[in-house]
């Protein structure tokens, strides 16, 4: 008699959603053999490449991810891109279940003229650059003008605003990528204007991020008192449906508006509300953003929207624009994609085919499943939902055993396709090297920010 086969499961994408899914699956099915595929040579996705370098306490989550996944036998298959190095069909030949955790890899666009002028960037590109994502290392941000404009009112907008205004000594204590540190040291930006389409009550900042903007050393945070006068619609909303965070935000913004100006400050942040960019202008490069004023109206579905007023256009001169209006997922080769909602069509994590029937053995978790919403921990509950479906299907015998069920068969294929695959040992070598360099420089880590350096470190 042969022992029952351990179910082999592939998770595509080693970001927070993939990591929570692996950890959760190991708890639900201790016998599962999990392979965590990752396009980059390094795991943990936006925890490494998204979370701001001055928020090191949040990056400690990597220790938990490591302990709960790699530390418990889950394999890391880094520097392997599913869809290029190995196809979806091949994964299905090797695994009983494949869980997509690929996130939302691109940004939403504003749809206004001039958006693509040099000097106008997606904030996510700036984030990937300062966080040492190897695909973004070569970008060159012109930081020579006095003013930058950040479009958007969420936490990515708050992060990039902080990074543009922190002092060099403050940045030097973080793990910001060296190429970014060098460029930011030379930055001549004195003022960052942050534009919110809606009003102070609807700002998507967390109150923690907003409070932090108001406490930066040597930075004057300006809010116009007129901007924090709530319109009747917002006032009614805040008193009724408004969240604790929205009330805190309005309270903080009123405090900021009452502060005296600090002309001696090193840098200035100006938060503007009820302003929509209508055009980014410049001859050859960004020179200004034209904005128009909005009012808040209640939409038919009850949500509060910004409606542009007929008044004049205000021009804000600047040399850099960072657009931060949200992430968007991109389709994956050979897997169904919902082009309206930018997710894999799914029922609680089970991916659905065109006819609405479940595709046996294919699952989704994280932003590719629910859209780019929530914070890190949201992925834990999301993973629990998807993993319950996987465990149910495995338990019910609903998944056909793969044609090539042995780990060795997959390893042979990958050895041929990606001889420079980075496994757990390779990643650990990268991690050790970065932390050691960090210790010498009194920084949390010194990131290796090119593929060549990462692969060399992985090879030891």
């Amino acid at each position: 008699m042969t022992a029952p086969m351990r179910p082999r499961v592939a998770i595509v994408g080693a970001g927070p959603a993939g990591a929570f899914a692996a950890s959760c699956l190991l708890r639900a099915r201790g016998d599962a053999e999990i392979d965590l595929f990752e396009r980059l040579p390094t795991p943990w996705g936006l925890l490494r490449g998204g979370v701001a370098p001055d928020h090191q306490e949040i990056k400690r989550l990597e220790d938990t991810f490591d302990r709960q996944t790699l530390g418990r036998g889950c394999r890391f298959l880094g520097n392997v891109e599913v869809g290029r190095d190995i196809s979806h069909a091949e994964l299905m030949e090797h695994y009983a279940a494949v869980i997509y955790a690929t996130g939302a890899q691109t940004d939403k666009s504003l749809g206004i003229p001039g958006e693509d002028l040099p000097g106008s960037w997606a904030a996510t590109e700036f984030v990937a650059w300062y966080n040492g994502h190897p695909d973004y290392r070569g970008l060159e941000f012109d930081l020579s003008a006095e003013r930058a404009v950040v479009i958007g009112n969420g936490n990515v907008a708050a992060d990039v605003t902080r990074i543009l205004t922190l002092s060099a000594p403050e940045l030097e204590r973080t793990d910001v990528a060296d190429h970014a540190l060098e460029a930011l040291r030379e930055s001549r930006i004195r003022e960052v204007v942050v534009l919110g389409r809606r009003g102070p009550a609807q700002a998507a900042f967390t109150s923690a991020e907003l409070r932090e903007l108001g406490r930066l050393d040597g930075v004057d945070l300006r809010v116009e008192p007129d901007d924090v006068q709530l319109d009747p619609v917002s006032r009614a909303w805040l008193a009724g449906e408004g969240t604790f965070t929205a009330r805190k935000n309005v309270q903080l913004l009123r405090e900021f508006a009452a502060r005296p100006a600090r002309p001696d400050a090193r840098r200035r942040i100006v938060l503007r509300f009820l302003r929509s960019p209508v055009e980014i202008r410049g001859s050859g490069v960004v020179g200004a953003v034209d904005v128009r004023a909005n009012e808040i109206v209640r939409g038919e579905d009850g949500s509060l929207r910004a409606r542009t007023l007929d008044g004049g256009v205000e021009t804000i001169e600047c040399g850099l624009v960072l657009r931060s209006v949200g992430y968007r997922a991109v389709p994956l080769p050979d897997v169904p994609f919902d082009e309206r909602h930018f997710v894999l069509p799914n029922d609680r994590g089970r991916v659905l085919g065109r006819d609405g029937e479940t595709l046996p053995g294919v699952y989704a978790v994280g932003w590719i499943k629910r859209g780019p919403t929530g914070i890190l921990g949201t992925n834990k509950r999301d993973a629990e939902e998807t993993v319950s479906r996987v465990a149910e299907d495995l338990g019910a015998g609903a998944l056909a055993p793969p044609h090539k069920p042995c780990r060795e068969q997959l390893d042979a294929l990958l050895a041929e396709r990606r001889p420079d695959l980075v496994g757990v040992d390779g990643w650990r070598a990268i991690d050790r090297r970065e932390r050691e360099d960090g210790r010498r420089a009194e920084r949390p880590r010194v990131k290796l920010a090119s593929r060549d350096e990462l692969l060399a470190a992985a090879a030891g």
Binding site: H55, E57, I58, R60, L61, D63, T64, T206, S207, A208, E209, R211, E212, R215, T243, F244, T245, R247, K248, G374, I375, L376, G377, T378, K380, R381
Partner: protein, 93 residues
């Protein structure tokens, strides 16, 4: 004394799972859970047992007397969340 949760909270709810007196809110499934930017500890109920500190993967929780200066707002914020919540519950009732 009490423990307090700071703005580094990622709402992964490890603390809720270990809290012996159920003083950390909102909990998954509660109407205000999804919109909450972080979790909060009810200072009236907390028994200072330390379990949540051990469980938190991002070290977002401190005893009130050791809260770092940059999180000095957190003690009031945690308490205020429960004051607002009980007012809302009374209003709804």
């Amino acid at each position: 004394m009490t423990y307090v949760i700071t703005g580094s909270c990622i709402k992964d709810d490890s603390c809720i799972e270990v809290c012996p007196v159920d003083c950390i809110h909102p909990k998954p499934g509660a109407p205000d859970f999804e919109t909450a930017e972080q979790l909060y500890i009810d200072p009236e109920v907390c028994i200072d047992c330390d379990a949540c500190v051990e469980a938190c993967p991002v070290d977002a929780i401190y005893p009130d007397f050791e809260t770092p200066v940059k999180h000095d707002y957190a003690l009031d914020l945690n308490a205020e969340f429960f004051v607002e919540r009980s007012t809302a519950e009374r209003t709804a009732a």
